[in-house]
Symmetry: C2
Subunit: 774 residues, 2 copies
């Protein structure tokens, strides 16, 4: 380098001197020499200035190397975050919601298609749309009531007189609830059938409830009435059938949803957010998620479909949801022993088991309850609407943000609150992109999933179709389904590694309706815990279930996922969910009057989730914290050791490998954190940052074991799989232990040992992905 | 940029003019103006030169940006390849082999430990070793004969007199064959037992063989003698048991191994490479690979182990291998009908079915054959020896090169020919690294696997333990087990995407013993095909089986794999494998006299495989060709359509999704190839190259389906899974079709449809990973 510069300089100076000499050749010698010397000095100075200019003055494509050197080192632009936050508009969200909830939009109906068109129009908008948007269709197995033969539930006297008929549709208070497209309350995937039998009360329909009930009442040939809660919808019928129960009713007890209030004169909607007596929670009564005819295969036209009779996890006997006004009449007329205290609800009578059947003193004496269920199944065309913003630096890294689009009725809160928020995000981000103000480092994929209400079908089919691509490239999945349950506080669940980025984002957003208080500061007041590493912090939940579209991402793909919403002040209500959930009352009117007047909580969610999204898309180093994962694993281990170690030792099953694995994970996580903290990654080769980001991105993938849970469809994540044991610890181990402890069989203890090895190996494998790459 | 340069220039020029004016202030006006103008012109010229120098002349840390900009763009250095090729030394390989074969080194024996120490010493050598080397231990389930109770096979007269005892150990011709560590011939994983019965001849022990035999002979209580070939070792016993056969013998017919030659006077070893009459092929008689007690779990100390009685895929009845000198005596004494023509071997008698039992005219009239098998199983500590060279630019990308270390006896060819080659590679590469002459772009991992002979155990456990890490980061696996079967021509199998890099490498290596002929040019003469894209090219095979340690990499992890060796001139021998295979004669003496005198074929393999390794490790863009993959998928599709479409159409099963998937794959592959061809990737952001390399690296991963083959342990690759249908097409489809076509049951046709969907979805998914990343 030095050699070239000095020799080039010399040559240039001499040339210039010669040229000067030619022009002034008759001047006297001394002057000439002097001038030459001066010329050399000056020329050298000019040249030096030029070199300095050339070297330092020309930045782009110049002295800092190729033009991409700066691009690849770019980190999150905080001014862009501020701009984003300031542009998120509550009124825009309100108007999105108004548009989305004009008509009921149950999956695959005309109303659903209207929302598809609306999403496409918005995402294809030239000024505020995305880079690209399209629909993806799947042919999925759905279940509907027959509009020509509505499902009926009646009390029938021994002489076949109908003594009471349960209301077929909810009472209407506002015109939109009277829309002919409002689907009759029903239990999707309940078989059709006409069971008739004596009524019994089976509490929440849990296995233990039927077990208790069966000790007193002969359940064969009975109809069981159950209340929502405690067990999954479908489980209430699945648990019943082995006892000979032939039909099930399910209702929402005012105790569980209305804080006890029952009157529609002034206590319930439209006077408050509480559920009117005729309100009925619809729902899907299947246990698995995804299209049930095409397990692990995307439900396309010629895809192999299993015979419908091979479907598992759906009610084997008819089941129908009803309102509590009818449940009240039935339950308070029941004969038999008093049900236990914790089976009692809010009705002003003592809940009894049923004789089976009704009290001799009641008008229904000797009568049966009859279900006439006309549900039918049909393969229908359901659409996801997809939209993308291409990444500038790492287009092959995806941040996915999604929510379902289909509702049961108008679905103002579920799911349109989330969809309104998503549309506001895409409007603000889309405009920045269209105006050339921003392009994320990584690609962003937006998904408006279809047929979620029938079992997370659209998102599950999407993950099945694009399994490889999504596994390889997805940094994180953000789910905002019901954006606002209530307007008290943020609520978030996710893998522990996302805790930090949610906190960062929530600290930058103002809490709705509060002065100088961040969403974070407000949150910590409602829900907190003490972390060994961070002290008192808000508590984030774990995604151990399949409550929304994160399920396929988290459990099947092992993608780091989170679910974000605004929610209740639990000191003010015990409602198991917002009361209009899955009813005809979940309307724009309800949402804007009782859930979030002014839409400030919606705005806070849009800002918080959008902030998380931008930071995941733009950060140089992914803002995923593996040490927080270690903390959770240590919690899990502590629980497991205290619950299981003694009994396992007595069976010569060692927990040492699990302890070692968690310790190795912690040490690898600390090491990686330290590398990130102490490296000047912006000035190193981008492949070094990429390697670290790959370690962070693929961390959750390392916990997958596709064979560990053969009975749990699509659950592959060894840490977050669903569990029935109800212990905050490794799910396979917890379930296997509960089984073995009950049965005492050595084959069941073998399964405990197996799950111990599965968990240990998964955690060791994950730790291995965090240590230095080689 | 432009603005800054021009304004800076102006200021500099004016300063210089002023300085000149001061010095020459008394000169006349015109001259001065002229001089000033000239000065401006010259000054500007000097300045421009300076700027150019500053901008382009200063390279390091200067105008080309950070120092790593050049590093990340570096491609394979051809002079390094030449240096490598020239340094690979045949005599070094010979001496490696001499050292490795000093004593028998069956897995977990003292001899095995000697080879562990030898590998470690070499790989930890300060001058020619690797960056790091260590051992990894697994506790694995092995099977051995009892040295104190050798297995016996006898002909026993009705009066219990032993009329003939089969030779217990092979005849020795050289001292090393007499080593007490030479293990008695046995069938690993054959149960112990003492069956006695009439002898029958069951050809190769295929299902069809027993079926045919059973039509003539009542097989209940018989002992079947079979010859190697046609069916897997264990299968010969597994297929027999359902017919009531109680014991099995297996031998190598001179027809199959010796081109008919039988005499040890001058025809066979030590006079030629042919198998002496007492030679016996040992082997593992299990069907699955990996440690059988710990399926899908690394076999560590406290790992859960299934009960031994739950193991599947091992012989249910005793089986023992014997030499053809004894088989001749038994078979030629058999009674019964003449066996079919294609059951006849090289013995100078007509092979008969057996009465069952022997001819009345033979000395064995009325006699039984008795097996006394004393094999026992034991969990033993087996080691892999691992060594690494860290990558400089992408250390988180691995090229893995491996071979097993354990043999049955001295294992000169199997596996020490490959180990000798590997040690020569590591010597040459290690020295370059130690001397600072080279560091690969990507990391290289060398694996010397343990306990391969018992079922690819070391490599399988390794892939189970490091599943996540290896899946995420491995570019390719290169397997060189038996490096030289014979010295005629190269032979290679692998995923179609490796064809091109093997060709490239083989073109740069001289064929052993030939003048001006490359390994490639020689190869194409022995084995070729016509490719639509490339014309006449050497034929590479597919890795559809589990013949060596590539199995876990290819099938379980979905890592692009290849297996390379030098092999036979098929016009000169029909031997099913080199005749000393798995016998006591596979010694240094045998290898250096009969397989590769001078070790030039070993050298050619070291050069070819090493060249492949370097190019995979150093190429800027991975030399994996996805269009060649498309060609194979098109071949597979063509076969499937011609074999199955008509019958499938009649059952309303459409092959359109499969056709569409293959077409989409082709189009995506062409597109990606085109992007690679037309991009100036060395000058683009390294993240663009990385994205493309990730597409290429992860291509095989996209074909994995962990649930598609529940009955085939660890087979997850939808294109290369093992298949019994014997058709060069999609294995799941082929096997399901064969079943359904035989049974005609609609549930079996459903499985055909299922596998059609599985293959279509896998190929569509793989195609999706090849299209633009978003």
């Amino acid at each position: 380098m030095g050699g070239c510069v000095s020799s080039c300089t010399r040559v240039a100076v001499i040339n210039w001197i010669e040229s000067d000499q030619t022009r002034e050749r008759f001047h006297q010698g001394k002057t000439m020499i002097k001038k030459v010397l001066i010329g050399i000095v000056c020329g050298a100075a000019v040249l030096t200035v030029g070199i300095l200019i050339g070297h330092f003055g020309i930045t782009k494509g110049g002295s800092s190397g190729p033009s991409w050197v700066e691009d690849v080192a770019k980190d999150v632009d905080q001014s862009l975050i501020e701009k984003f936050l300031s542009e998120v508009d509550n009124i825009q969200i309100q108007e999105n919601l108004r548009e989305l909830t004009k008509v009921p939009h149950m999956a695959t109906t005309a109303g659903d298609e209207q929302t598809v068109q609306f999403m496409l129009k918005r995402w294809q908008d030239a000024e505020t749309g995305l880079d690209d948007a399209w629909r993806e269709e799947y042919l999925v197995y759905l279940s509907f009531p027959d509009p020509k033969n509505p499902n009926k539930v009646t009390v029938v006297s021994p002489s076949d007189t109908v003594l009471h008929a349960i209301r077929e549709k909810e009472k209407t208070y506002n015109p939109e609830e009277d829309d002919p497209a409002v689907v009759q309350p029903y239990a999707a995937y309940s078989p059709a059938g006409h069971p008739k039998g004596k009524l019994v009360y089976a509490n929440q329909g849990k296995p233990s409830d039927y077990q208790v009930l069966n000790q007193t009442v002969d359940l064969r040939g009975t109809i069981a009435i159950t209340r929502y809660g405690g067990a999954g919808r479908g489980a209430k019928a699945i648990n019943a059938a082995p006892y000979g129960v032939i039909g099930v009713l399910v209702y929402t007890d005012p105790l569980d949803i209305n804080d006890g209030l029952m009157s529609d004169i002034n206590e319930t909607y439209p006077h408050s957010w509480y559920l009117p007596p005729s309100g009925v929670e619809r729902g899907s009564f299947n246990v698995q998620f995804g299209d049930m005819l095409t397990p692990y295969l995307a439900a396309k036209e010629d895809t192999y479909r299993i015979p419908a009779e091979d479907i598992t996890g759906i009610p084997p006997i008819p089941i129908q949801p009803i309102g509590f006004e009818d449940a009240y009449i039935l339950i308070c007329a029941l004969d038999g022993e008093n049900a236990p205290q914790d089976w009692q609800g809010a009705f002003n009578c003592t809940y009894k088991y049923g004789g089976p059947g009704f009290k001799p003193t009641s008008a229904f004496n000797g009568s049966d309850v009859k279900l006439d269920i006309f549900n039918y199944e049909e393969v229908k065309n359901s659409s996801n609407v997809m939209g993308i913003i291409r990444g500038s630096v790492e287009p092959d890294r995806y941040v996915i943000y999604g929510n379902h689009r289909d509702s049961w009725v108008h679905g103002a809160i579920d799911p349109s609150s989330g969809t309104s928020v998503m549309l506001e995000l895409t409007r603000v981000l889309g405009r920045m992109v269209k105006q050339g103000q921003w392009r994320p480092r990584r690609s962003i994929i937006f998904g408006s999933w279809g047929a979620e209400e029938f079992g997370l079908i659209g998102s599950a089919e999407y993950t099945e179709q694009y399994f490889a691509k999504l596994s390889e490239r997805t940094v994180a999945y953000i789910n905002v389904d019901i954006a606002v349950f209530a307007n008290a506080t943020l609520s978030a669940s996710g893998m522990p590694s996302v805790q930090n980025i949610i906190f960062t984002a929530a600290k930058q957003v103002d809490a709705p309706g509060l002065v100088s208080t961040s969403v974070y500061d407000n949150w910590i007041k409602y829900s907190n815990r003490t972390s060994p590493a961070h002290g008192v912090i808000p508590r984030i939940g774990y995604l151990t279930g399949a409550g929304s579209d994160y399920a396929a991402f988290a459990h099947y793909l092992g993608i780091t996922s989170m679910d974000i919403s605004y929610t209740y002040d639990r000191s003010k209500t015990n409602a198991r969910i917002y009361p209009a959930y899955h009813t005809a009352y979940d309307t724009f009117n309800y949402a804007s009057k009782f859930i979030d007047p002014g839409f400030l909580s919606h705005q806070a969610i849009a800002r918080t989730a959008g902030n998380v999204l931008i930071q995941l898309a733009d950060s140089l180093v992914l803002p995923l914290n593996c040490s927080d994962y270690a903390e959770t694993l240590e919690d899990y281990l502590k629980t497991a050791v205290s619950l299981y170690e003694e009994k396992l030792e007595s069976r010569k099953i060692s927990m040492e490998p699990l302890k070692r694995a968690v310790a190795n994970f912690r040490s690898a996580a600390s090491h990686l954190d330290n590398v990130i903290r102490t490296s000047d990654l912006a000035n190193e080769t981008p492949l070094k940052v990429r390697a670290i980001n790959d370690q962070l991105m693929l961390l959750d993938r390392a916990f997958l074991d596709p064979l560990a849970f053969p009975d749990k469809y699509a659950y592959r994540h060894v840490i977050w799989a669903s569990s029935s044991a109800g212990q905050p610890t490794f799910p396979g181990l917890a379930d296997a232990f509960a089984n073995a402890d009950l049965s005492g069989q050595s084959s069941d203890w073998n399964k405990v040992h197996y799950h111990l090895s599965v968990a240990s190996q998964a955690i060791e494998g994950a730790a291995q992905t965090l240590v230095d790459v080689i």
